[in-house]
Amino acid sequence: MAQANFRADVPVTVDEAKCIDGCTLCVDMCPLDSLAIHPETKKAYMHVDECWYCGPCAARCPVDAVTVNIPYLLR
């Protein structure tokens, strides 16, 4: 199948300077499993554009590194 890569604005951002190495809390809690730890930076990031803008990721982050924005199409 012919394919193209798709660039998407994702709603959840992580302040890498704050994000603690070894922590996985937001990744563990996201109902949609949309967050992951980046293999290189070792920081949390949104790996798929799947989000209910519900907030457990931000609510559980011990250092307030997570910001939940409203998904672009709804904003």
Binding site: D28, D33, C54, G55, P71, L73
Partner: protein, 589 residues
């Protein structure tokens, strides 16, 4: 990704398997464990923040608190809201056991609003009775339940597997004996043998496409893709009222509740574009939704939730609820649009269609013991047909299912699991991984759900519904070709199959009921009148065991056990006596 061989699997065993660790599922597990069963909760998310209560809830919509309302009032109210088509015995359970559930939740640490005399501060939103009980600290409810599941005593009896998603219930001789699924992170294949299975997988929230076009911008928690409906159907269970869709009035674009239940008691209400009220009762029903749609579509549209007339302090109080619990990003949304409740009223719209008995009445057919028509298979919560059951109903039915399933599992034989069904589920799960370059799930799902909008959104007609059916048949081919590269993508692909199954059920059920009923939920432009002579009955669907086709059966409405003032049963069936004490399963003690 590598596809595991069908024999290469993690095998688990338990007395009671609970599929979905949301509202109903956590309560089912707690009660089953209390009754001595070993319990396994399989949750595709993480139990701590999964389901509708991921961030808590701002109130109980349907508590019958002694001294404030009677079970009889509630049963009558819900009977009328459902145009009389209801098994009152199921509703009666929610009515009579809801208060003990409130007290049980309180004993776990959930707080409910009390007035200055320390009485429950229930409010009136329904047509006649007062059943809405605010939860000022409602954001903690799932935390409290999770803590209870991890508490000493319970912990040893309840296993939880997070990120593991069953896709099929296994049956042997017409009895539920387990389930089969996979780990959505590692891709591992998983089978479970169980004495009884409780499905508590929530609504079918990813049926219609929200107007925004964002697949996950649904009213319901989008993890609830109709998994439970599809699993029950393929296990041979009956489903009922599927044609009675769920449609809600929501904040436009944000697509979450505003919500009149919160704002009403403070003096907020719904108005049209001319600033006039147009509904006399803000209780969500098919009738109300028909009025909402009419108003939006008219020159008086759009509609708004009006708060701007309220004093600043009151608005701050409302914000304190709406912006911290249930859907706490409401505040972020309004800030982004520059909407302040003090200056501008909130534009409202109607949601995409879904299936949900928590709000409407589409679900798996259950009796007052949460039993489905398949032995050893239970359903509770939004996916079980107990109309307008909401959160307290999900808790009550989780409790009932947990107790009954624990007793059932005790005496149940543990046969070998059926390998043919396991192989079929393996194929369903991993097929997209064998075709990694096939169309990706987001495109396939978008197309499928756009067809749902095009052809199933009320008002419905035979012509539209048949075009929808054709589209859903065509989508089988798209789904066959769909490609996935990771276990996460496999999860989304399996969900697309559930959505397709639900779309087909919704189209066929809507075609079969040749009348209009339940306001907007089943409004048929080609059959505009309610036809009590032919259709005062439940419409149940199931998978025919010999042909494998979808079949429909009419079930008569059981005699009422509670008289409904002002409502004459069109079939003339006389009322029966209310259940005697002890006749229904005992409530939690």
């Amino acid at each position: 990704m590598e596809i595991p061989h069908v024999a290469d699997r993690r095998h688990l065993e338990c007395d009671v398997l609970v599929v979905g660790g949301g509202t109903a599922g956590t309560m089912a597990a707690l009660t089953a464990a209390r009754h001595g069963a070993s319990v396994l909760i399989m949750e595709k998310a993480h139990v701590r923040h999964s389901g509708a209560l991921a961030m808590g809830m701002d109130g109980v919509n349907n508590a019958v608190v002694p001294g404030k309302a009677t079970p009889e009032d509630y049963v009558a109210d819900i009977t009328i809201a459902n145009d009389g088509i209801i098994n009152q015995r199921t509703i009666y359970q929610t009515a009579t056991r809801g208060f003990e559930m409130v007290q049980r939740l309180e004993s776990y640490g959930v707080k409910f609003e009390k007035d200055e005399h320390d009485e429950y501060a229930v409010r009136k939103v329904h047509r006649s009775g007062s059943y809405v009980l605010p939860m000022p600290e409602g954001k903690e409810v799932k935390k409290v339940l999770y803590r209870e599941l991890r508490s000493r005593g319970v912990r040893a009896k309840v296993q939880m597997t997070n990120r593991v998603m069953p896709v099929r219930v296994l049956t042997e001789n017409g009895r539920a004996v387990g389930a089969v699924g996979f780990d959505t992170r590692s891709g591992e294949f998983v089978t479970v043998a169980a004495g009884a299975v409780i499905l508590a997988a929530g609504a079918c929230g990813r049926l219609g496409l929200p107007a925004s076009g964002y697949l996950y911008g649904t009213y319901e928690n989008p993890t609830n893709a109709g998994d439970g409906y599809a699993m029950a159907y393929h296990a041979g269970a009956e489903l009922s009222g599927i044609e009675c869709f769920q449609i809600n009035p929501l904040i436009k674009d944000y697509n979450g509740p505003a919500c009149a239940y919160v704002a009403n008691p403070f003096g907020g209400y719904t108005v049209n574009g001319e600033g006039n009220r147009f509904v006399d009762c803000d209780y969500w029903s098919g009738q109300m939704m028909a009025e909402v749609k009419r108003e939006i579509d008219s020159s008086r549209g759009p509609i708004y939730l009006k708060l701007s007339h309220l004093p600043d302090a009151t608005i701050s109080e409302i914000e304190g609820i709406l912006h911290t619990t249930e859907r706490p990003t409401r505040g972020t949304f309004h800030a982004g649009r520059g909407t302040d409740y003090r200056e501008r009223d909130i534009e409202m719209h109607i949601s995409e269609i879904g299936l949900c008995s928590g709000h409407s009445s589409s679900g798996v057919w259950v009796d007052e013991h949460a039993r489905t028509t398949v032995a050893g298979l239970y359903a509770a919560g939004d996916m079980a047909c107990v109309p307008h059951n909401y959160m307290i109903g999900a808790f009550v039915y989780g409790d009932i299912a947990g107790e009954d399933a624990a007793a059932y599992a005790k005496g149940a034989a543990r046969p070998e699991l059926p390998e043919d069904q396991i192989a079929a589920a393996h194929e369903l799960i991993y097929k997209p991984a064998s075709n990694p370059d096939g169309p990706p799930q987001p495109q396939v799902e978008y197309k499928l759900r756009r067809f749902v909008n095009d052809y199933l959104q009320p008002p419905k007609t035979e012509r539209h519904l048949s075009l929808g059916l054709e589209a859903f048949e065509r989508m089988r081919t798209d789904i066959d070709q769909m490609g996935a590269r990771t276990p996460h993508e496999l999860m989304r692909c399996a969900e697309v199959t559930f959505i397709r199954d639900c779309a087909e059920m919704a189209a066929r059920a809507s075609m079969t009921r040749t009348e209009s009923r339940w306001g907007l939920y089943h409004s048929r432009d080609d059959w505009p009148l309610q036809d009590d002579e032919n259709w005062f009955c439940h419409l149940n669907l199931s998978k025919d065991s010999s042909s494998g086709e979808m079949r429909f059966d009419r079930r008569p409405v059981a005699p009422y056990i509670v008289p409904v003032p002002g409502f004459v049963r069109p079939d003339g069936v006389p009322d029966a006596a209310a259940p005697r004490a002890g006749e229904l399963a005992a409530a939690w003690r």
